[in-house]
C-alpha cells in the first residue's frame, strides 16, 4: 500500500491528510510537496491528520522533524491529530511529542490554531 497525501490551506494553516504507509520510498515525494506549500507563503501553522496513516518508519520521522524546523522558523506550530497506535509509538520513541503538539481530532486541532472549521 502506498501513500496518498491531501493538502489543503485553511486561512494561515496548512492541513495535510496522510492515507496509507509512509516509508523511505514515499518520504521523498511527501517532503517535496510539503515544502512546496510551506514555501508558497501565507502559511504559519501545520496540522497533519494521521487518522488513516497505517504505517510509518524512521524515514517518516525524518520528514516530520525537517518540516517542524521549517514551521518553527515561520513562527508557527505543528499539530498532529487522530494519531493511531502504531505511529504514536514511533513519535513517543523519538521524542517528537516534545516539540509537536497533539490533538484528538482535526476539529480540535483547527480550533487550537484559531481556525473555524
Amino acid at each position: 500500500m502506498s501513500l496518498v497525501s491531501h493538502f489543503e490551506q485553511k486561512e494561515h494553516v496548512l492541513l495535510i491528510r496522510l492515507v496509507g504507509e509512509l516509508d523511505h520510498h514515499e518520504a521523498g515525494t511527501l517532503k517535496v510537496d510539503w515544502e512546496h506549500y510551506l514555501n508558497a507563503g501565507g502559511i504559519q501553522h501545520v496540522i497533519v491528520n494521521l487518522e488513516d496513516l497505517t504505517f510509518m518508519d524512521s524515514s517518516g520521522l525524518g520528514v516530520f522533524l525537517g518540516r517542524y524546523k521549517q514551521v518553527k522558523a515561520l513562527g508557527g506550530e505543528m499539530v498532529v491529530c487522530a494519531i493511531q497506535k502504531p505511529v504514536k509509538r514511533l513519535f513517543e520513541l523519538s521524542g517528537l511529542f516534545k516539540v509537536i503538539q497533539t490533538e484528538a481530532t482535526e476539529i480540535d486541532a483547527l480550533s487550537r490554531l484559531g481556525v473555524a472549521s
Binding site: D23, H24, S58, S59, K85, P86, L93
Partner: protein, 147 residues
C-alpha cells in the same frame, strides 16, 4: 513449528513495502498481535532502508537478501547487503546519529530495531557489506500462563 524462507531483491525503495509484506505474511501462522505485526514490519523497513541508502548509497544494482526463520515461537530475521559496510557500528547505533543528515534521516533506525525486537546483532565489514540479525520471541505471555 519450524519454517524458513529467503528472498533476494534489488536495492530499490519500491521493495521496502514488499519486504514488509513478505515477512508479515510468513509469520502469520504464529498469530501475531497487531502490535507485534507493526514491530516486525517497522524493523524490516528500517533494516532494508539502511541497506539501500547506506549499504548501496542508492545504487539499485545492489542486492538485498532477506531471510526469516521460525523456530517454535522464536522468529529470526536476517537482512544482508554486500555494500560499503558501516564504519563504526557503535556510533551508528547511537540514537539520533546519522551519517547522512543532508538526507533528513532521523537517526532512529537502530534504536527502533533495539526497542521492537528481543535481540539484535550487527556484522559489518568495510567494502563487504552488513548483516543485521534480529530475533523476536512470540507468545511469551501465553507460555507464562501455561506454566
Amino acid at each position: 513449528m519450524n519454517n524458513h524462507m529467503k528472498v533476494e531483491m534489488a536495492a530499490k525503495s519500491e521493495n521496502e513495502s514488499f519486504a514488509r509484506v513478505v515477512v508479515a505474511s510468513f509469520i502469520s501462522p504464529l498469530d501475531p498481535t497487531m502490535d507485534e505485526l507493526t514491530e516486525i514490519k517497522t524493523v524490516i523497513s528500517e533494516a532494508v532502508t539502511n541497506a539501500i541508502i547506506h549499504g548501496y548509497e542508492d545504487d539499485d544494482d545492489g542486492v538485498v537478501v532477506l531471510a526469516c526463520s521460525i523456530s517454535n515461537d522464536d522468529v529470526t530475521i536476517m537482512i544482508q547487503d554486500y555494500g560499503r559496510g558501516i564504519d563504526n557500528v557503535q556510533e551508528a547505533m547511537e540514537p539520533m546519529y546519522t551519517s547522512k543528515p543532508e538526507l533528513e534521516r532521523s537517526g532512529m533506525g537502530f534504536t527502533i530495531m533495539e526497542n521492537f525486537m528481543d535481540q539484535i546483532d550487527i556484522h559489518s565489514s568495510a567494502g563487504a557489506g552488513t548483516t543485521v540479525t534480529l530475533v523476536k520471541r512470540f507468545n511469551q505471555n501465553q507460555q507464562q500462563i501455561a506454566k
